[in-house]
Amino acid sequence: MIQHFPILSIMSLFLGSFLIVIFGGKNRFIRNSLAVLFSAIPLVLICCLIKPILIDGEIFSYWMGDWEPVSGFAIGIGLEVDALSLFFALLVVLTIFLAAVFSLKYMSRDDALDKYYTLFLMLGGGVLGLVLSGDLFNMYIMVEILTFASVALTAFRNWGKGSLEAAFKYLVVGSIGSAFILTGVILIYAQVHTLSLAQISALLATEGLTPATIFGFALLFAGYATKAYIVPFHPVAADAYMTAPSSISMVFSGMVNKAGIYGMIRLVYMVFQAMSQSAMQYIIVILGCLTMFIGVTMALSQHDFKRLLAFHSISQIGYVLTAVGLATALGISGGLYHALNHTLFKGLLFLCAGAVFYSVGSTDLDKLGGLAKKMPQTTIIFLIGAFSISGLPPFNGFMSKWMIYQAAYEKAALEGSFFYALVTIVGLLVSVLTLASFIKVTQSVFFGQLAPGCEKAKEVPFSMRWPMWLMAILCVLTGLFPGFVNRYLVVPASAAAIDTTGYIDAMMGAGYGQQLGLSPETALSLEYELTGYWDPIAWLVLFVVLLAGLMISLGLGKASRGPVRRPVPADPKYDTFFGGEASQHSHVGGSDLFWGLKHNLRHYFRFMHSMHSGVVNDYALWTVAGTAVIILFMILFL
């Protein structure tokens, strides 16, 4: 029975979306319970798979309609669930379930909600199908389904500022990416005449890469990179994350771009086994570094809450990609750990943005302020998320970023390559900039003066708060117990990512690879130790000290409000925090927190601003040009 769980979990999402179309149109209760039920079922089913796959290390293969391979040739469509797939599947089902619960209240002021939940479950089914699939074309289908659903959901609040144009840009760039994926699939098919990932992997390993397969591979790589929104494919992501409802933004950054990352990992590590070549490592690491740097610098100059979070999301994906591109055991583990953390903290931050939008009705940083008094719980949750993404110890972002820095620097030592030392420097610098940027957001949204228009804000209802609390607690737990997370989640998944032989044999029958003359390669060792020593529990010392400090300060007790109690006139000149760009009222320069930085790097920022012009043709051009560069690079150096 448990063999059927993967397909059942995918089916339940699609079935749910189908049933909501039929029965959910009229009755609110039926619609909501269908949505929650059919997003909870996959969560349960996938969690049942943790024991056999992640702990016992089995690999599930499942042929649809029992079309097993005939004389060593895969003719059916297969699902294959190894630890890597399951790792991403867990992220997907968790995100889907929490987002569904959050949506119940969050979306309750919109109409046409049956369409919303239909598309929502379709999106979930698409991503889940992608990560569990063992078939190259099936992956393409799922990519198309998820792109389609994402576009529709981006445009869902079509009364909002820019949601339609965001959807259109997303659709154009997304369909260019999809077309590249399809071309790649068909080029690979023309070479090996099969679509099963396992068989392609075995055949390519024995026959070696020809220019045609490299071309196909480059197209596939670029296509999935489009779905992961790495630079230069990223501008549409910022638009889409910003304009979609927050529950959907969470789904986008929590799992849709993970789907792209998953596709890239699967392709480069397993199907094409290209990661042993240093050229491949270089291009992935370069793309990752560009993504994290450009993402974070663009975030500095945003003044919309969600758009800023969107650029941070892009930047964090850069970390994941860089780590994965290092092709060392510690690198893969760090990357996957960061992917997990990114799903948690970025989902959390987007939900906070949603909560703010729900109670205030705006995400414009210039119009928000002082919400900590009105929404204390949301503020605490946001702070946990902000600490996590900035990588402050002992939250989870610290652990994964630490692994990534160490992986990059060790790689540099291992290869004697100065390039990877620079990568470490970029990583650390980006982390500092992330912290800087989150100081600005925290200040201008939650602290500082109560902005006009925020007086009536209330704490969001409990059904919105508990998904946020759950993710916040997970953020803290994954930070405090890295050993546990590593042992049961990250290390099995990283081992699966490099265990090509096991993957092929599970799908095509034992010994299939050896028949073709493929020697069982020595798997990359997952033995690593962290230099230095990290004991999060010791950080509780910090909180003890903090507590003591606060006690002392309360004892000081001489604070007063001062004699002057004149109300402060409502003039932007006197605003507590200058986060915004409404600087024309201010007589002193530098009303913007990053004024000095932007002034010093003005050429860079001007250039970046013109790159993100908002014109769809430009974005299409960056996509095509990026793909062309990737193809050229791979054909020349692979």
Partner: protein
């Protein structure tokens, strides 16, 4: 018993009390030296203690426009992270929490006091503070880049058999065996870069763009008074000690004498010398840099110095 010992570490030595006293002492020495260089008498060396206790006794006024909680919490946050850092920086062989110390942890912790200044300034609701925090942000980004490179350089140099390390314990072990980092000529540019990073991290004179009293009335601190201002002054003093001790741990470490008291005295001596070199001297002889100049200075000259060391270390010197 262990708890009592930990409490002793946190509150007395090398935690709160120790670094507060040493920090204030260093601040006093700094003021005295600067004064002497400028042919003034200068205040007595214990003047910072008087200032601190006087401020504790004064009324703390919280401005109407400020957001009260953050305004009070920000200086405390900075103080706490500084004290925690003090626990992790080794005094030659001795660390209070052995093994926990780590370069990357230190790097993250170092940003928190600066962030606390920004947060506190932003919460105070003054235009001067607004300008000040913007400048502080520039300063952070400016000195963080060379600091990262310096730390990575040390992390590479201290590792044996071609690897890397981020652990203070290993850095101390390396220096105990092969002599202090400063005795390796390839590390000298990095040490100079670190010496230049220290004043800006502390916010001392030629690089105190954020607090520039003469231009923007102490920027982020403009609205602070009484005990909260006292805590900021204390933070400033502790930061002097922490960064000079960090310099000592990174570049002048070693086995020490094995006797804790002697080691501590030696550390204090080093700290004083570094303070004079990196803070008093530039303070006495130069005027405050402009914000843009400062950014350029750190991202060109200081970074280049650090990178030279990094390259040399990577080439195996």
């Amino acid at each position: 018993m262990q708890i009592l010992l930990d409490l002793f570490y946190v509150l007395i030595f090398p935690g709160f009390l120790f670094c507060a006293v040493v920090g204030l002492l260093l601040a006093g020495i700094d003021r005295k030296i600067v004064a002497r260089m400028q042919k003034r008498m200068g205040p007595p060396i214990v003047q910072p203690f008087y200032d601190f206790f006087k401020l504790l006794g004064k009324e703390t006024i919280i401005p109407h426009a400020a957001s009260r909680g953050v305004f009070i919490a920000a200086p405390l946050l900075g103080l706490v992270s500084l004290v925690v850092m003090a626990l992790f920086i080794p005094v030659f062989g001795f660390t209070a929490f052995s093994g926990v110390a780590d370069l990357i942890v230190i790097l993250y912790l170092l940003t928190i006091p600066a962030a606390a200044i920004i947060v506190g300034g932003a919460a105070s609701g003054s235009p001067y503070a607004g300008v000040g925090i913007s400048r502080e942000m520039v300063a952070i980004v400016a000195y963080e880049l060379p600091l990262i490179i310096v730390l990575l350089t040390v992390g590479k140099k201290a590792a044996l058999d071609g690897g890397i390390t981020f652990s203070f314990t290993e850095i101390q072990a390396y220096q105990a065996e092969f002599g202090s980092m400063l005795s390796h000529w390839s590390m000298i540019p990095a040490a100079v870069a670190m010496l230049l990073v220290i004043p800006s991290e502390v916010g001392s004179h030629p690089f105190d763009v954020a607090e520039a009293e003469t231009e923007i009335c102490e920027g982020p601190l403009v609205e602070y008074s009484g005990s909260l201002l006292g805590i900021y002054k204390l933070n400033h003093a502790i930061k002097m000690f922490i960064l000079t001790a960090l310099f000592a741990a990174l570049f002048l470490g070693g086995a020490g004498s094995g006797i804790l008291i002697v080691d501590v005295l030696l550390l204090l001596l080093i700290c004083t010398v570094v303070t004079i070199l990196s803070m008093s001297l530039p303070h006495a002889i130069s005027a405050r840099l402009k914000v843009e100049k400062m950014f350029k200075f750190y991202w060109t000259l200081v970074t280049v110095l650090a990178v030279i060391s990094l390259v040399l270390v990577w080439m195996g010197f």
